[in-house]
Assembly symmetry: C2
Homo-oligomer: 305 residues x 2
Amino acid sequence: MAITVVGSVAYDSIETPAGKRERCLGGAATHFSLAASFFTDVRVIAVVGEDFGPRQEAVFTKRSIDTRGIEHAPGKSFFWAGSYLDNLNEAKTHQTDLNVFASFEPKIPAEYADSEFLFLANIDPVLQRRVREAMPDVKLVAGDTMNYWINDHKPALLEVLKGLDILLINDTEARSLAGESNLVRAARAIQAMGPASLVIKHGEYGASFYQSGNGSGAKYFKVPALPLDEVVDPTGAGDSFAGGFFGYLASQKQLTPAVYRKAMFYGSVMGSFAVERFGTERIANLTRAEIDERFDTFRELTHLD
Amino acid sequence: MAITVVGSVAYDSIETPAGKRERCLGGAATHFSLAASFFTDVRVIAVVGEDFGPRQEAVFTKRSIDTRGIEHAPGKSFFWAGSYLDNLNEAKTHQTDLNVFASFEPKIPAEYADSEFLFLANIDPVLQRRVREAMPDVKLVAGDTMNYWINDHKPALLEVLKGLDILLINDTEARSLAGESNLVRAARAIQAMGPASLVIKHGEYGASFYQSGNGSGAKYFKVPALPLDEVVDPTGAGDSFAGGFFGYLASQKQLTPAVYRKAMFYGSVMGSFAVERFGTERIANLTRAEIDERFDTFRELTHLD
């Protein structure tokens, strides 16, 4: 079933211990879409500026991603510059230019209306909520957020959480949102805010899945990250995880506990590819065979036999 | 097959967000022995003072642990006081009194000579090496260490590492020992120092197993920690992990890759029990049925089906 995703399509300038890239294609919706496109149909809602041309468009269309919801506006695309020189787990932001994003009014193309899955990537919760309300009939809604919205826009974010089935956030965000340092208690507090399911991403330590109100199957599930001897660029790893996770869910007829488990694996698989190259370089050129092979590596890494 | 363990048998005064305990029985050899005793015969080499009486002795003998190698010396037992008020993953040491440990000369009882497994718990590497050399015929040697020895006694520690098959340390220690922040590269560097196998413990994020020179089976294996909504006392969790891991290995006829995987699970299982109560309270009163039940919980937590 098709996923509609709303979020940023942007340019990133990135510096890591492995090197530098200027203005590479990025943004949460970009990373999410590319990862999810290996599993199901993906439709993007975003806004770009005049600096977004056919070469960028082709990154999406090559993966058969529907870009009819990418609005072209006068001006420049969202731009972010950051580095990970001291700590690969946390970006240091040097510059954020909202540009065309500052006045973004998400418009949902009629062709997207039958999407059964909706992903609200990390943007202003006011916009997330607007898209959520414009698509009331979707079957499953997942979303992401970040510390900026948790700290400075909490009331708007709490409204979004009420309409989410699944929230994906990292350790720090979960602790901050719940005001609780123990992650199990933090998860429980966040589930009480709305999302019955929660994915907490632990960076190099993998991710945890928490599900409440689920009679059969596990309430908890853990997936590691792949041990990598070089992380080239962590930008987009979380969005790629979300794309693999949610993309796999959308490809399945029934959302059983076993399907959620596999979705966590596919999330970690896509996150592991994302960090191997700068920006979208790795995932835009990935094959399904590589994904399946890495899935087996994750099984080998975790299973007793 | 029997394990001989050399290490500290001590008293600990501990403060955590869950409460306080004065002078409870502790020490690396104590936590290790208790955990390992559920899997195989365990023999302890340590020194205690006049404050170690029949009540403490009974904690060992109740688990059929051989205490003939626990030397009784004039004076007081090793004493440690610490707290985990800000961070459950890292103890703040308030006091360390070596007492009878200051002049400890490990003596190996004749009855221990046929032990096929040797565990060198975290003590002065000079003593670890002496015990290792006094038991040249053991089948498998594992050991632990800590930042103090890595930073201030590195030459002696490097000599110990040459004689180890398996080293168990935590993230911070691995990075510090290798001088390398990436854990995969750090593991490789440490393996080049001697131990073909390495267990890196990640606290609440579980542990990783690295094995080199192993033709078949996985080079890497990951086991999570149990999601706990309260960690009462982290003291001894790493030693309990080591006890479960090495105890299980010692109980097996052949050390296949599958056996190492199960050993990692048992390590994490024993670590998860250790933190549920202060000191040895939980593991000293554990049953094998509880261990098996939790093993199944770990399988459920990690396996696709």
